[in-house]
Symmetry: C2
Subunit: 408 residues, 2 copies
Amino acid sequence: MDLDRSPLARSFPNLPAITGATPRVARARYKTWDRCDLTLVEFAKGTAVAGLFTKSACASPEVEAGRVQIGGGSARALVVNAGNANAFTGAAGREAVEQIQAQVADELDCSPEQVFVSSTGVIGVPLPKDKARAGIAAALLAEPCDWLEVARAIGTTDTFEKGATTTATIGDTEVTLIGVIKGSGMIAPDMATMLGYIVTDAAIEPALLQTMLSQANGASFGAITVDSDTSTSDTVLAFATGAAGNVPLADDDSPEAEAFAAALEDLCGQLARLVVRDGEGASKFITVKVTGADSDDSAHRIGLSIANSPLVKTAIAGEDANWGRVVMAVGKAGEPADRDRLSIAFGGIEVAREGRAVETYDEAPVAAHLKGQEIDIDVDIDLGDGQATVYTCDLTHGYISINADYRS
Amino acid sequence: MDLDRSPLARSFPNLPAITGATPRVARARYKTWDRCDLTLVEFAKGTAVAGLFTKSACASPEVEAGRVQIGGGSARALVVNAGNANAFTGAAGREAVEQIQAQVADELDCSPEQVFVSSTGVIGVPLPKDKARAGIAAALLAEPCDWLEVARAIGTTDTFEKGATTTATIGDTEVTLIGVIKGSGMIAPDMATMLGYIVTDAAIEPALLQTMLSQANGASFGAITVDSDTSTSDTVLAFATGAAGNVPLADDDSPEAEAFAAALEDLCGQLARLVVRDGEGASKFITVKVTGADSDDSAHRIGLSIANSPLVKTAIAGEDANWGRVVMAVGKAGEPADRDRLSIAFGGIEVAREGRAVETYDEAPVAAHLKGQEIDIDVDIDLGDGQATVYTCDLTHGYISINADYRS
């Protein structure tokens, strides 16, 4: 199925090369398509790695391997296969991952544990080992490419390439961070992206990188949802080559570490929101901000209850300021809330206050706001100081078309 | 919006009159429609009542009142308003409920606590007290009607009238149970029906009736989901007039109580499944049976994770045996599961076993099964003895049309 480019798409930014990271792409032809679908990124010796993985109890063998590998903290290569998720494939799937690791480790003279593998696409078909072997051989011979080509090669049902970049100053050294990400369906808060990769030339201890990545998760990948469904393959990996030459970051209390952590959070947030912008069938980007909750966690859960509600999402698709459905979603969240203290605003205009409709609110600007592509829903619980922001998209006929027609 | 009758509709059964219960309907004109939208059922003195209510933290004043009233165990009247949910309406909403209770209590010479009120429809608009008063006055003057008229009068976006009946033998007395129910969207497992009413001529102590109704809930109203959304108004009430003249049931250990409990469970199950058959946009009725889970509760949660997954529901809409999405939904349930022990069948034919596809399965009968209206998904976790069955419908363009167009 050819999918139209999402109306919420953003153009791909200029992503700089990162010294110590060399991306290449190739055609493994996992599906009958004429595009690169295998990515191989080679990292310099000494590259630190950190990762986030799906919490699914039915994770792919790539994720199972990655959960173990990440403890080593060291990476020499990343391989991403697009078109076949290799999930739910039993022993054959595990063998395919091991073969890829062995082939790349042999070529780069490193340990198989330093070769990280991700696969995305159809579930239930073992990754064909012959195609993987030939694809990797082709990638090793290919010219290095830029990050746009990587973003394209890791995509499946994505309708646009997604990337972001930022910088941080560590001492007197400027370091650069880039990220690419793919994902458009089966996106839920338990580890929201399908596959995301962050590369920086900063020097940082792997344990600290892991701490920072985990901290950045909550307000970025953990704060987005397209359809409440959680992939068996979700993975975010961060690689730090150290080529920038800064004094290696090791202490999370230092101002240098704080500067880098802020840059990483910014980058993760950008990437996560791009995934929502490619949400299947999305026509509107929805920001749900919850304030006044019992705690930040409570605000987060209320936000996700709203963002995952099919009735809220269809109301927004219909450009209807149906705050009653927002009340419903607050009520079902299972979190402390008092109906008679609740306030709800669309586009900054309060439509309900203290448990009832604001009869005098000006409908024209609300209607105009809902006709736009960027929708803001603000909910004040008026019980405490907890707050959180989550991001989602509307639920449209496009989502049904994509998912009732996309063949397994 | 005129909605087509659900393709999964069932014809309304012949529901007998219940001695001690006198239903009447009237036109309160809560919306600009030409139909009865107010129901008043008068119960004989001594009628016992039990109830189940939404767990929503933002419940309607009707639900808030009902939660308190049910402790009294005694009912003389039920009033149901259709077209206005009276939810999220602050003090004005509470006053409307109190006025209805006072008016009916005055007329029937009973306590306001014996008058149960439900309202369903638009959220956020206080129930107009003048229309309610006139509607009740009209109902009091109306001829008694049959249960079909009640089923019609309590409906909103329902596309067919839903009712069920059964009998039980208590000693040498046959008692009759009837039920009517409405609901098609905002249906979720926390108390799944919008509004359901059960009436029996059995004599039974209210505390025992409550115990039996709560026990029947898990496998009936608690086992259905249309869209994972939970109404602010969900209510099920059971009324027992005692007119059958059986020795009143009081001991839940007796064979008589067991016979009645079995009949009540059967009735609740029938009513609950009818709600799924009127699920918004539904074209297929899906039965998800989970076996081999760690516990019955675990099986129930896994079943709901599958039944609530938009990706599973759209796959069924597309008549696609996409068991990979079922794996995904098992994985995200947060319950004990081992990918490599999982088996999945559609229409009784195993398509995945022990963590991988059954390559030799016969696709033709699976495809034929998926083209039908009654879809069976069986999942065996192979870890323990826990089992549960839940019911849902597919997710179609019809759901989007109904919910993106239905004006708040």
